[in-house]
């Protein structure tokens, strides 16, 4: 069973990679989003799915359960996540952060009643946000084209592979052998997650002219910020824009079209592409922080 699941996962990731490297450049639109027509279709489906299922369920969930219970649910899943966050911090060469994460898990599991109460945050051990996509980014691998995953939502080629290929594979909930329990936990987590996002999504609906573009660009900005742990290097002012973009460095995944996707190839054709910020990898744009250069 586990083997089967593993093969399925690998297959999905490989399919994704193949599909995307096949169509790395197409004209028009954003240089970071060559698959816009396909992405828009999936985005439309996700919006519909959200409208008829996820949002109403999440609203009901929020109306029925008191805030204390919902915080407990959030904390419970957050505590499980922290284990993998610790591993990713270690992979990114940040042992202090990893140690903090481990301490968070220990404290929250023992004192926080199995993770229901986030005692560690109150004690000054701040929660981190890491996943394998970010680790790949820290290693210098570009994000590749933007991809909207069915149901799961905004991602990129790199992050999609990180999520489907690696994050899921090691995730405790996914690896539960008791399928009803696993599915219940999955559903509970999804509903809780959506409930937490209700206000943010409403704000976004009101702010966006074109929701697809707004969500896409916010997602890409957010991921870039996360890779730099909230402190990305300053970007050029668009007012005095120049068209000089840094060339992406050679990376191990350039064969997959990952590095190539970083440069807007049709820069001269698309007038606004000098406004596009290079979603460049940290190592090319700034100094690598904490991760030894020799490993590239």
């Amino acid at each position: 069973m586990t083997v089967l699941r593993g093969i399925g996962r690998l297959g999905a990731a490989a399919l994704l990679a193949g599909l995307l490297s096949a169509c790395a450049t197409t004209g028009g639109g954003s240089a970071r989003d060559p698959l816009e027509p396909l992405n828009r279709a999936i985005f439309g489906f996700n919006e519909k799915f959200d409208e008829v299922l996820m949002k109403p369920v999440a609203q009901g969930y929020r109306a029925v359960l008191p805030e204390m219970v919902r915080t407990g649910v959030t904390n419970f899943f957050s505590n499980i996540e922290d284990v993998w966050i610790a591993a990713n911090n270690l992979l990114q060469g940040k042992p202090e952060s990893a140690l903090q994460d481990v301490m968070r898990v220990a404290i929250n599991t023992v004192i926080g009643l199995g993770g229901l109460i986030d005692v560690a945050s109150d004690a000054g051990l701040e929660k981190h946000n890491e996943d394998f996509g970010q680790t790949l980014g820290r290693w210098g691998i570009g994000s590749g084209p933007y991809i909207v995953l069915p149901v799961l939502g905004p991602s990129t080629l790199r992050d999609g592979i990180g999520l489907l290929g690696v994050d899921n594979a090691v995730e405790p909930v996914w690896n539960l052998d008791h399928i009803p329990t696993r599915n219940t936990l999955y559903a509970g987590r999804a509903v809780n997650y959506r409930a937490n996002a209700l206000d943010a999504v409403r704000l976004m609906d009101e702010a966006a002219l074109d929701k697809y573009r707004f969500v896409r660009d916010a997602h890409l900005q957010r991921r870039r910020s996360l890779i730099y742990d909230g402190d990305p290097p300053r970007e050029r002012e668009p007012e005095n824009s120049s068209s000089a973009l840094p060339t992406p460095p050679f990376s191990a995944l350039s064969t997959l079209g990952l590095a190539a996707a970083e440069t807007p190839a049709n820069e001269t054709v698309v007038p606004q592409s000098d406004v596009n910020l290079p979603i460049a990898d940290p190592v090319a744009a700034g100094e690598p922080r904490g991760f030894p250069q020799s490993l590239h």
Partner: protein, 202 residues
């Protein structure tokens, strides 16, 4: 006598300099003031649009540079717009941002906001004031204010929430609207967004 006069002059000018509020002090002051108002006002907490608009108009807007914000969002097309178009763009974008900001304010409950120490050189004309909203059971939300020095004090020209710049986030969207239907097309979309969108309760 002459000496006394010049002494007075010096004293006055240094007093004037001291009165120029440092950017982080300014943001912290406004934040505290606005939070205290929200905490005491049940109408604002309930989302009363009139009262929130009033609060934003009086306490927050004077410290924002909407002209600069619009220039950043419109990017290369700014230079292609006529002065009249630039004026309308700024006005409409301001309306859109103010509404978004007002809606965000009404969601505030009693989260603690921490300000990080400001690293600033005396001759800096642009600076980032960093703050964090702490919330239970989640990573803190970072709130960064990009500020520029102007003759009338420090002004905010960008706000970054969790690393997402609200202003640059409009850039590609605006560029695409202009590509599809010109600068007037962008203005039209902005106007209809501002007229049409009614806050939906969730």
């Amino acid at each position: 006598m002459r000496n006394l006069l010049s002494l007075l002059l010096v004293a006055f000018s240094s007093l004037a300099l001291a009165q120029e509020v440092a950017p982080d002090v300014l943001v912290k002051g406004i934040t505290t003031e606005v939070i205290n108002i929200i905490k005491q006002d049940k109408d604002i907490q309930a989302g009363n649009p009139r009262k929130i608009a009033d609060l934003v108009e009086k306490r927050i807007l004077p410290h924002f540079s909407f002209a600069r914000m619009t220039r950043i969002a419109v990017a290369v097309n700014w230079r292609r717009a006529t002065p009249e178009q630039q004026k309308v763009l700024t006005e409409e974008f301001k309306t859109l941002l103010v509404r978004t900001y007002s809606n965000a304010l009404s969601l505030y409950r009693d989260q603690a906001i921490d300000f990080k120490p400001l690293r600033m050189k005396p001759d800096d004309t642009e600076i980032t004031v960093k703050s964090e909203i702490r919330q239970k059971g989640a990573q803190p939300v970072t709130l960064d204010y990009e500020m520029e020095k102007t003759p009338t004090g420090w002004k905010v020209f960008d706000v970054k929430v969790s690393g997402v710049s609200l202003i640059t986030n409009y850039r590609e969207d605006f560029a695409a609207q202009v590509r599809e239907s010109g600068i007037d097309g962008l203005i039209k979309v902005l106007v209809s967004k501002n007229r049409g969108a009614r806050p939906e309760k969730s």
